[in-house]
């Protein structure tokens, strides 16, 4: 599994801050500037509900929202219901309901109010690196599910090869594995493509999986 590299410099990123906090925001903006970030402060009234912005990019943005405000339950569907970029929860009232609201939006770090300049870098560090780690895990998970789904094609390809060339199970598998490595695709993708191609060649094939190429 590939581990994400640790990010330590946040120069050039934009931090979008949703908060009703007054004095703390000046300090936050000042500290962000020192750290090379551009702070986009969006002050809100206490009861005003927050609308999460579109077009957030995982490498360019960091979102900070205040747990004391009315928060949406989830990210807009345009993001596929996943947290689109590193996020930090500003914690005022430390009640379980507020912490849960922040957690549901997928915050990777907390920053206590009133904000103390000495904790901003740590919160950014945790949020960005935790986001990257989770993102890498999600991708691995997606990859594994995809391979599990295509496992049936490996079984079919092994059986087909055994039948066509009179090979043992191990020998057939070994050939498929080597071929897939040569083509630099997973054995599942290789077998999927192989079976797909064979079924296209053979009009009498009973292959039913026509959902198309995986990649």
């Amino acid at each position: 599994m590939k581990t994400a590299r640790i990010t330590q410099n946040f120069r050039g990123r934009k931090a979008i801050v949703f908060s009703s906090e007054g004095r703390s925001l000046d300090l936050l903006e000042q500290t962000m500037r020192r750290l090379g970030l551009e702070a986009d402060i969006r002050p809100l009234q206490m009861r005003q509900s927050l609308e999460l912005p579109d077009g957030l990019h995982r490498e360019h943005h960091i979102v900070l929202f205040d747990g004391d405000m009315t928060l949406p339950a989830a990210w807009p569907e345009s993001y596929g219901a996943e947290t689109p970029c590193p996020t930090i929860g500003l914690v005022g009232i430390e009640a379980p309901s507020r912490l849960k609201a922040l957690l549901q939006l997928g915050v990777q770090a907390f920053l206590s109010k009133p904000i103390h300049s000495g904790s901003v870098y740590s919160a950014l560090y945790l949020a960005v690196n935790e986001f990257n780690r989770m993102d890498a895990l999600h991708r691995d998970l997606h990859d594994l599910s995809d391979r599990r789904r295509k496992r049936i094609h490996v079984i079919r390809a092994v059986t087909a090869l055994m039948r066509q060339r009179g090979l043992s199970e191990d020998a057939a598998y070994s050939i498929l594995r080597k071929d897939s490595m040569r083509e630099r695709v997973s054995i599942e993708d290789h077998c999927f493509d192989l079976m797909h191609a064979q079924s296209d060649d053979d009009p009498n094939s009973r292959e039913t999986n026509k959902r198309g190429q995986a990649r």
């Binding site: 640790i6 330590q8 410099n9 120069r11 000042q30 750290l35 000495g118 490595m181």
Partner: protein, 386 residues
């Protein structure tokens, strides 16, 4: 003109494991107080009160509290980062101001601290460039086992890896530890192009002496074959090391007492006259001197000692210091300073080898120079299969 009375706390451990350097810090601050008090135009009269925490971490917070209890809100002090971290919460709680006059490893910007010493981009970055261009890219790193050593070595490691260099070993010793035999034999075994030393106080002095001696015993010219580079080596420390090992050592600093300018000559003369018993002038002394002068200038300008007003007015404040012009950066409250590389002589002075053409803006978080990602290890995560 009515003069403003300004009580000033001086928090320096002039006794203890790093007493020598802290004593020069104290002297630098005292010289500035004396100059300001004697100047009829200054508009400020200092009432300095010194407390010596003896280099013991637990003594710092009570010392600061006792200063606050006496109504003192401006304190010039601290040498080690651990002592600074220990007192910062108190300064923030009482809304007082710490004037911190020591070069340090960066990654901090407290709202209640003014930093007049060098930031990592002032000493580490120029030193790495210098070492790579003169000696090579294979380093042996040794440091005191606390934040200064750890962070200095991290910056060195990243700098070298960026230049395709190599860290042969990274070793740490407790502050005050002087048993260096293992370190020295490891240096001979690993044969680095240079040694990077981030030890402080007695450990550092003992290392310079023992390593020079070990090199001589093997017929090696230490300064040529195994140059030692430090970011915290100053003139009084060369004396503490002693004449046999004081020469040929590399130091990265914003100030050396040998700087040739009328302003520096005047500073060195005034310092030597006031502190005949030593320790001699150093970069730390100059930084403390700058801190107290800038404080006086700011208070005289604003007409009040109130911390919030002083903080507002100190942003962008400039001062004609012995090292040249210095200025407080309005974003980070660190000072813009002039980096230099010096080579020590046996008469306990430095020859300046490299000098920046003008003051360099502080970058305490190394935002403009550090790479976005932590440098990856050289070991590849690739497994060869069939």
């Amino acid at each position: 003109m009515k003069r403003i009375e300004l009580p000033l706390g001086l928090l320096f451990s002039n006794t203890g494991p790093y007493g020598k350097v802290a004593h020069t810090l104290l002297n630098g601050a005292r010289l500035a107080c004396a100059e300001i008090n004697a100047d009829p135009e200054s508009g400020v009269t200092f009432h300095p009160i010194h407390i010596d925490p003896k280099g013991i971490l637990q003594n710092y917070a009570p010392a600061v509290q006792s200063l606050f209890d006496r109504g003192i809100h401006h304190v010039c002090g601290c040498y080690t980062s651990s002592s600074r971290k220990e007192v910062i919460p108190l300064f923030e709680k009482h809304d007082a101001l710490l004037w911190y006059p020591t070069h340090y490893e960066g990654f901090e910007s407290s709202t209640n601290v003014i930093y007049t010493g060098a930031a990592p981009n002032h000493h580490m970055s120029p030193l790495i460039d210098f070492l790579c261009s003169r000696f090579g890219r294979r380093a042996y790193c040794v440091g005191s086992n606390y934040i200064w050593g750890w962070e200095s070595n991290r910056v060195m490691r990243e700098g070298l890896q960026k230049r395709h260099g190599e860290i042969l070993a990274e070793r740490y010793l407790a502050v005050g530890e002087t048993d260096l035999e293992d370190i020295i034999s490891e240096i001979f075994e690993t044969e680095p192009d240079f040694v990077f030393n981030a030890m402080i106080g007695e450990s550092s002095y003992a290392f310079f002496r023992a390593f020079r001696k070990a090199c001589e015993a093997r017929g090696i010219d230490q300064a040529k074959r195994f140059p030692i580079a430090s970011c915290n080596l100053s003139e009084p420390e060369l004396r503490a090391i002693g004449p046999e090992s004081a020469d040929g050592q590399i130091s990265s600093s914003v100030y050396f007492s040998s700087l040739k300018s009328p302003r520096n000559a005047q500073f060195v003369a005034a310092y030597s006259k006031l502190f005949r018993d030593g320790p001699v002038v150093s970069a730390e002394a100059e930084a403390a001197y700058i801190a107290v002068h800038i404080l006086a200038k700011t208070v005289a300008q604003t007409g009040t000692t109130k911390v919030s007003e002083v903080l507002k007015a100190v942003a962008g404040q400039a001062f004609d210091a012995p090292q040249g012009r210095v200025m407080i950066d309005p974003h980070s409250f660190h000072a813009a300073l002039t980096p230099r590389i010096g080579l020590s002589r046996s008469d306990f002075e430095f020859d300046v080898l490299v000098e920046a053409p003008e003051p360099v803006a502080p970058d305490p978080y190394l935002v403009s120079s550090a790479s976005e990602y932590e440098v990856a290890s050289r070991r590849a995560n690739v497994r060869i299969v069939s």
